[in-house]
């Protein structure tokens, strides 16, 4: 499939190879960095890129100083956002009843599980998942503690409640981050319907934390579903980088890949998984650990 799904932007010429292998930076000239940094910033990947390059000392030393500066700025910005998430989670912990099961999704989950993919990643909000039956309790607890809905009109609020898988975003006055309270990982309007029973049966405690995370396979499926909810290409690239990180983190054997395809079937997300893996493979060259006949299908 080489070349069939190149990022349709000339700047992707360097960004994708860089995301695949930091050592690619050694062959880059100063001019090559110009568009690459702008695209990475636009895709909100500057911090992750910076972190990976800095971790590879011999490569980092060969990067022009001006470029290092931009990457360091991205790393610092990401560290600040990670700190904001930690602070928000501490405040939420005070507000939420301690016996309520609360699961972190996406950025906050990657951060508290200390996954390598969280390093340099810039989370933009805090996503919490509770059982549908606990939604009112959670919402009331947060409102009692001072969080407010950011949505103004009653119409908007009804839209969220009826058609979405989350409440209108909540924000504590003066806090920079919004909190999204979800009761599922797919919107009601979506054709894909994740199996909530399956999801909630496999929650995992996060060590040293009152919060939980989805099971590893469900974290992957959620990243897949999320990927196709966003229509902006540069956001999709970030979503793919997340997915790539999760695959590398959680899948180690052919059996793991089998389990993932089974899990996707259980969540009615097989097609989405196929597409997501297709792009992951084309753009980031993730090595698919699927059985031969299946990887041939994916790679066609």
């Amino acid at each position: 499939m080489r070349g069939t799904a190149a990022l349709p932007l000339p700047a992707g010429r360097h960004l994708l190879p860089l995301l695949r292998d930091p050592a690619y930076a050694r062959g880059m000239r100063l001019a090559d960095w110009d568009e690459t940094l702008r695209l990475a910033r636009h895709a909100r990947l500057l911090g992750q890129l910076g972190y990976r390059l800095q971790a590879d000392q011999p490569t980092w030393d060969q990067i022009p100083e001006r470029v290092q500066g931009h990457l360091q700025a991205g790393i610092n910005d990401a560290a600040y956002h990670a700190q904001l998430v930690r602070m928000e989670l501490r405040d939420l912990e005070q507000a939420l009843p301690s016996d309520l099961s609360v699961t972190l999704l996406k950025g906050a989950a990657y951060l508290l599980q200390d996954l390598p993919l969280a390093r340099g990643r810039t989370p933009n909000d805090v996503d919490l998942l509770v059982r549908r039956a606990d939604l009112d309790t959670a919402e009331q607890a947060l409102k009692c503690a001072g969080w407010r809905m950011a949505v103004q009109s009653a119409y908007d609020e009804r839209y969220y409640r009826e058609w979405s898988h989350e409440l209108p975003p909540l924000r504590y006055p003066g806090h920079p981050l919004e909190v999204d309270l979800h009761h599922s990982i797919t919107p009601v309007t979506s054709r894909t319907r994740a199996d909530d029973a399956l999801l909630f049966a496999d929650l995992r405690p996060i060590p040293n934390s009152r919060y939980r995370a989805l099971g590893p396979l469900d974290q992957i499926i959620h990243a897949v579903i999320h990927l196709f909810q966003d229509s902006e290409l540069t956001n999709e690239l970030r979503g793919l980088v997340d997915l790539d990180g999760l695959l590398r983190q959680f899948l180690h054997s052919e059996q793991d890949w089998h389990a993932l395809t089974e899990r996707a079937r259980g969540h009615h997300a097989s097609r989405l998984l196929w597409y997501a893996l297709h792009y992951c493979c084309a753009w980031l060259r993730i090595r698919l650990g699927l059985p031969p006949q299946r990887s041939a299908t994916v790679a066609r």
């Binding site: 001019a31 702008r38 022009p64 700025a73 910005d77």
Partner: protein
């Protein structure tokens, strides 16, 4: 070669093609603009800056100054500032393109340059020993910075104290000094060496004119300076000179909490600002007259240098 040695039409052509590069030290800009009056102002105010012939193909900020195109732009011509698809400000009148550009650069730089601690301060240097001048608007900071440059100090920055946490040094972020209201005439009267651009009347910051950085300053674009002295200036018409040492913890609070991005940098910002305060005596300087204020700053710098040398002799190596 300096920018002013380049014919105006050549600069205009480059700007038209979006290939005009400008080096401000901590930031290198690539400029696209078809506004002739703006390029003329740039030619004057950035005249002593190096002319970048070689197109390295790299810029930290890509900016565009263009005419407004909507219907009302026919009646009242406008200028608009864009950087990487973002337009942070409402359009300005067409002739106000230069102040719009200056504010636009400040905005982009403050958004992005989080590899540095961005102190809200002017920075001047004598022999690469830096004076950090931090104060809120209206304190006469810019006027004093302008007068110091015209008295032989090297100007690194009027708005940003760009502190590199790795080296502990201040980097130039050199731009014309924005003089407001009466300051324009004060500086004109202060020195006949002052190159001052056109007066922009009634901007959101009042009447503004810009003082061009001189050659001493532009020649040091890539020479950092080590913090030596922190001054919190406060102009008061007719006031006698009054200089008071500030306790370290107060100086720290003033410097850190007025910075653009101290909150964002966490431990890095904390240690970098603490290093500055540990190394520099800090003073509150009330002044009514520029000459005596500058004389006082020179004396404080001598004293700080003496102490630094004394300390070095007491602890050799």
């Amino acid at each position: 070669m300096r920018l002013r040695e380049q014919p105006l039409h050549a600069l205009s052509r480059q700007a038209n093609r979006g290939r005009l590069y400008l080096d401000q030290g901590a930031a290198r800009l690539r400029i696209r603009s078809s506004i002739k009056g703006f390029i003329r102002n740039l030619h004057l105010l950035y005249g002593a800056f190096p002319y970048l012939q070689a197109d390295t193909g790299f810029a930290d900020h890509h900016v565009e100054l263009r005419r407004g195109r909507r219907l009302r732009a026919l009646i009242r011509p406008q200028s608009r500032f864009r950087t990487d698809g973002q337009e942070p400000f409402e359009p300005f009148p067409l002739h106000g393109a230069l102040p719009l550009f200056e504010w636009g650069i400040n905005w982009s730089f403050a958004q992005r340059a989080n590899q540095y601690i961005l102190l809200h301060s002017g920075v001047l240097a004598r022999a690469d020993r830096a004076v950090i001048m931090a104060a809120p608007p209206g304190s006469g900071k810019s006027t004093l910075a302008a007068a110091m440059m015209l008295s032989g100090f090297r100007l690194l920055s009027d708005e940003f104290g760009v502190l590199d946490p790795n080296s502990g040094q201040l980097l130039p972020m050199l731009k014309p000094v924005a003089l407001k209201n009466q300051s324009v005439d004060v500086i004109r009267a202060f020195s006949d060496q002052a190159v001052i651009g056109p007066l922009f009347v009634g901007t959101r910051k009042g009447d503004v004119a810009h003082l061009a950085p001189n050659e001493t300053s532009t020649d040091g674009l890539h020479r950092p300076a080590r913090p030596a002295l922190v001054i919190f200036p406060a102009f008061e018409a007719g006031a006698a000179l009054d200089c008071r040492r500030l306790p370290g913890e107060d100086a720290f609070a003033h410097l850190a909490f007025n910075s653009f991005n101290y909150h964002l940098l966490g431990p890095t910002g904390f240690h970098a600002v603490a290093d500055v305060i540990a190394a520099c005596p800090a003073y509150r300087l009330r002044f009514g007259q520029l000459e005596s204020a500058i004389e006082q700053i020179r004396a404080l710098l001598d004293e700080a240098d003496g102490n630094a040398q004394g300390a070095a002799q007491r602890h050799p190596g």
